[in-house]
């Protein structure tokens, strides 16, 4: 239950930071920032979804984590790590071909890693983790 609360608190903090960022006028409204904000919201949505799943398990008196959920997380993490290496290679490749600043590229890379993990998690959930 503690981990579920931590997930909701972190999600709320991220949303609050985005709102404050927007209120303070740091969002110029260009397409690049919109993609970053949108991606952040998708990742927060994913965290909230996981939190809701954990709450539902708690309500059904199931364990919040079991061997399948741990294995899905492990398989998704390892796959995401592997793909992220190529993502960073791509970021390095485009770094001198774009006008983006270094901190924007690093931010995009980190958000990209989170999106890759999200996609891997969905993929592993759909395909399963059958080890033949």
């Amino acid at each position: 239950m503690k981990r579920t609360i931590v997930m909701f608190v972190i999600s709320a903090l991220v949303v609050a930071s985005l709102v404050l960022w927007a209120i303070k006028g740091h969002i110029a409204g260009n397409i690049q920032e919109m993609i970053m904000v949108g991606t952040s919201l998708v990742i927060v949505g994913f965290a909230v979804y996981l939190g809701i799943l954990r709450l539902r398990s708690h309500r059904l008196q199931e364990p919040a984590e079991d061997e399948l959920s741990k294995k899905v997380m492990m398989r998704a993490s390892s796959l995401a790590y592997y793909i992220s290496i190529y993502l960073w290679l791509f970021v390095m490749y485009i770094s001198d071909k774009t006008t983006l600043e270094v901190h924007s590229l690093v931010g995009a890379g980190i958000l990209g890693m989170a999106v890759v993990f999200l996609l891997c998690w969905i993929g592993v959930k759909v395909v399963g983790t059958k080890n033949v």
């Binding site: 398990s57 059904l60 008196q61 199931e62 364990p63 079991d66 061997e67 399948l68 959920s69 294995k71 395909v127 399963g128 983790t129 059958k130 080890n131 033949v132």
Partner: protein
């Protein structure tokens, strides 16, 4: 590897959630097992077989052709 969990569960008129609670996993794990999308740990296979009062090999069925052959 296939299994007879769905069939055995139906015989005992047991829901996925009830079986999940009995063996200490989430309902989703039973769903994945029944769909053949997950191979359980030895511990979980043992617990499920024990619940149905059957040996593991009667609950979890190995395809002989797919099973790895012992090294010579």
């Amino acid at each position: 590897m296939s299994n007879r969990i769905k069939e055995l569960r139906a015989k005992e008129d047991l829901s996925q959630l009830e079986l999940a609670r009995l063996v200490g996993v989430r309902r989703e794990t039973i769903v994945f097992l029944e769909k053949g999308k997950y191979n359980p740990s030895l511990r979980l296979a043992h617990d499920i077989a024990k619940h149905f009062r059957l040996p593991i090999e009667e609950v979890f069925l190995f395809d002989d052709e797919a099973a790895p052959k012992p090294s010579e």
